[in-house]
Symmetry: C2
Subunit: 128 residues, 2 copies
DNA sequence: TACGAACATGACGTTAACGTTATATTCTAA
DNA sequence: TTAGAATATAACGTTAACGTCATGTTCGTA
């Protein structure tokens, strides 16, 4: 009972069929197995994958970048060399993420100080 | 001597002329004053503005979002109502930023834990 | 003053990440 | 079994943020 077609998949994952097919076409999503009739069938994992992709997108990762990391959420590369390779990738992503975090923190501080400036101004000048 | 033309502007700000003209066209950058000849002239502030825009872009803000906040870096809205309006905008941006920070922090933690997992694996299985 | 460099303007091109028909086939329920 | 819903595939459309000519005018200097 864990096999579903694209209709149920997209409803549960909150994306459109076009999105699923697009992801399949760029190799971001393994294209579901097909029956003799041509229809694709998906599983729970596909739903989870789509949700994870959505999360990563919200972090500002491009689909290409996501393709680099999505696998390690659902599979384990076997062998020392593949694991080393993925580890390198992950470390780069971590460094990038730290940079983003710092910049975003700075931006937050800027916003905060602007907000306080406006608040002070309004507090002293408002009650005319 | 603080008046420059687009060539110097773009060199100092690290953007192309196309970018400057595009920003002018969408109202993100005030289009430089023009002489009788048709040439635009810019100032130090334009350089600073372009750099600030670039910073904000790196935070994942769209040019439209940047247009909402860029002014308050370089001007002060006068009057209580305008200031209230900008304050509201700023608070929304602050809330958005906090959400992004949280998501990004979570992603960082995920990455970190994956990295550690791989490191442990390699440490115990590497020296065959 | 002449000529190459700089500038202005217009228009078509590009990439990412899908949206939106259009058409054909398959599934499902009455 | 047959109409309507779901699916597959192809192809053209869309938005953001510019890139890349093409053409014409202006600037600066030899």
């Amino acid at each position: 009972m864990d096999r579903m077609r694209i209709g149920e998949l997209t409803e549960r994952a909150g994306v459109t069929q076009r999105t699923v097919r697009y992801y399949e076409s760029i190799g971001l999503l393994p294209s579901g197995e097909r029956e003799g009739n041509g229809h694709h069938y998906y599983t729970e994992e596909t739903v989870a994958r789509l949700r994870k992709i959505d999360q990563l997108k919200k972090l500002g990762l491009s689909l290409e970048e996501i393709r680099d990391v999505i696998e390690l959420y659902f599979t384990d590369p076997s062998g020392v060399q593949p694991k080393r390779k993925v580890l390198g990738l992950l470390r780069r992503h971590l460094a990038d993420t730290d940079k983003k975090l710092e910049a975003l923190g700075q931006f937050r501080a800027d916003l905060q100080s602007h907000i306080e400036r406006f608040e002070r101004w309004l507090e002293t000048n408002d009650r005319i």
